[in-house]
């Protein structure tokens, strides 16, 4: 399998190939177990789990094809993912009719943001949405002269843009990080580490919560979330993160810290989006992925972990790019 994958993805390091093989093998094992249970006990209702596993196959295949085959394609695919996510978010939030133009301009921010990431212009990329769009979009909204609830629209538009475009574009900038000496996997390794750990964290929290969950953590936001699920999930994620640390240039304590951070931020993203869905009275953001709901139902935690992980890595491993490089050196 590793040989086959290295043939398919010639540009990737052996670590990345190993990780993709592990993911594919574990998916095969899960599918095999499900198949066996279905054969042994046909009366058991597994439709939801089977649907979810099928969707996982789809998503893993699409992700590997999108990210690892060609560098430019990877940026385009991440931009498309961001577009779907942003569209889903503003469709759910119900903007006013007079916000149409501002929304159309906000959509144009997606190609710009990912192009900035593609050309590795960190300065432009990091201020484009938080500064330029932040000032531009309200100004465009005002042109329509409809002031009724305009404050709410301004706030919602910037929030959704930050979460779905700025947040997810950190995935793209991971690919643009410069190569480090002695670290062959590069940005792809980091991206794979982040995405895998975020998703496995979702799965682990779900499984721990299902099997041991007793004490509800935020009952009015998400009745299925429990302390047991959160803590169990965070510990499992940290352990798994420790074992796949070979994808990152981090030292062992750094890997453990980063993995724990991914678990915590992933949980935060999950409950924040749950709260929004509860406010809007919906269960899923859309019906894009069978068994999972909308795209944002799957990547809600990723939109939180991506910026957190990126800036953590940037702080820990890429100090030469920091303006406070000198301070950093003097401190440690």
């Amino acid at each position: 399998m590793r040989k086959f994958l290295s043939y398919l993805l010639p540009d990737q390091s052996s670590d990345v190939i190993l990780m993709i093989s592990i993911i594919l093998i574990s998916l095969m094992v899960v599918s095999g177990i499900l198949f066996a249970i279905k054969k042994a006990k046909p009366e058991k209702n597994l439709t939801e789990v089977i649907n979810r596993t099928k969707s996982w196959w789809m998503m893993v295949t699409m992700f590997v094809c999108a990210i690892f085959i060609n560098n430019t394609v990877a940026y385009v695919c991440l931009a498309i993912l961001s577009f779907f996510a942003f569209r889903e978010l503003y469709s759910v939030l119900h903007f006013r009719q007079s916000d149409r133009n501002a929304l159309l301009v906000a959509l144009l921010a997606i190609p710009v943001q990912f192009t900035l990431a593609y050309f590795r212009w960190y300065g432009g990329y990091i201020i484009f949405i938080p500064v330029i769009m932040f000032l531009l979009l309200p100004a465009i909204m005002v042109i329509k002269q409809d002031t009724h609830r305009i404050t709410k629209s301004m706030a919602m538009l910037q929030w959704s843009l930050m979460l779905s475009v700025f947040g997810l574009s950190h995935l793209a900038f991971l690919l643009s990080l410069p190569d480090l000496e002695g670290f062959s996997s590069g940005g792809r390794g980091l991206l794979l580490f982040l995405v895998f750990l975020t998703e496995i964290n979702d799965v682990m929290q779900f499984m721990w919560g299902k099997s041991l969950g007793k004490h509800k953590i935020l009952p009015n936001v998400s009745p299925n979330k429990t302390w047991e699920g959160f803590i169990g999930g965070a510990i499992s994620t940290t352990v798994i993160g420790y074992f796949i640390g070979f994808l990152t240039p981090l030292s062992t304590p750094q890997v453990i810290f980063t993995s724990a951070m991914i678990a915590i931020f992933g949980f935060c993203g999950d409950v924040v989006l749950s709260a929004v869905k509860r406010d809007k009275g919906i269960k899923d953001m859309s019906d894009a992925i069978p068994g999972h709901g909308g795209i944002f139902d799957r990547i809600d935690s990723l939109s939180f972990t991506a910026p957190a992980f990126f800036h953590l890595i940037y702080f820990l491993v890429y100090p030469p790019f920091q303006p406070f490089d000198e301070i950093w050196k003097n401190l440690f």
């Binding site: 149409r100 959509l107 859309s286």
Partner: protein, 226 residues
Amino acid sequence: MEKPFLKSLCLRVIYRGICRPILKFFVGIQYPDCSFLKDEKQFVIISNHNSHLDTLSLLTAIPSDILWKVRPVAAADYFGNTSLKAKFSNFFINTLLINRRPKKDDVANKNNAMDKMLEAIDEGYSLILFPEGSRGEPEQMSKMKSGIARLLAQRPGLKYVPVFMTGMGTSLPKGGVVPLPYNATLHFDKPTLPDSDDSYAIMEQIEKHYAEMSEKYGIKEDDDDD
């Protein structure tokens, strides 16, 4: 009625092959499973109307096998004001053009619209009808006209399929040029047989049906007080 091979193929390619993927992935329209329409011999799809996207998304939702025998009823003054436009829309959208506002003194043409629809029904076509008449304000339903009820009253046994669409008016409102990508949704209800053959009773039934669907699927405006 025989299936016109070329037209059917053409419609299939245009709607299933080209329009549906664009609408689904770029605009973000969410399609339900409409294969149940294949089991119906004939039906009238009625729907709320807010946008030019409405007809297009209905046509792309219908199973491609029966696309050729579904005719959207359209206003002649809009889609057929030139003969080229009429021919074009007849072939590619399969429209049935009617006069929305027949002239008062034109006795011969007074019931022209109803006659044309009945004729199409008798030929075996299914219809798509927007009983509100025009697109109106985005995300708001205006009062339905009674034509649909009179049509169903005159052809007992004909089923209607109510469709409730949300978000189309937000995506492409009246006067809009560029469609805003938006997760607009089509909600199909089951084909329903009118309970009575009195047009007033049918109208009441349809209005009730829509009130229910609007309650169930409609976008609830935030009523927060400021």
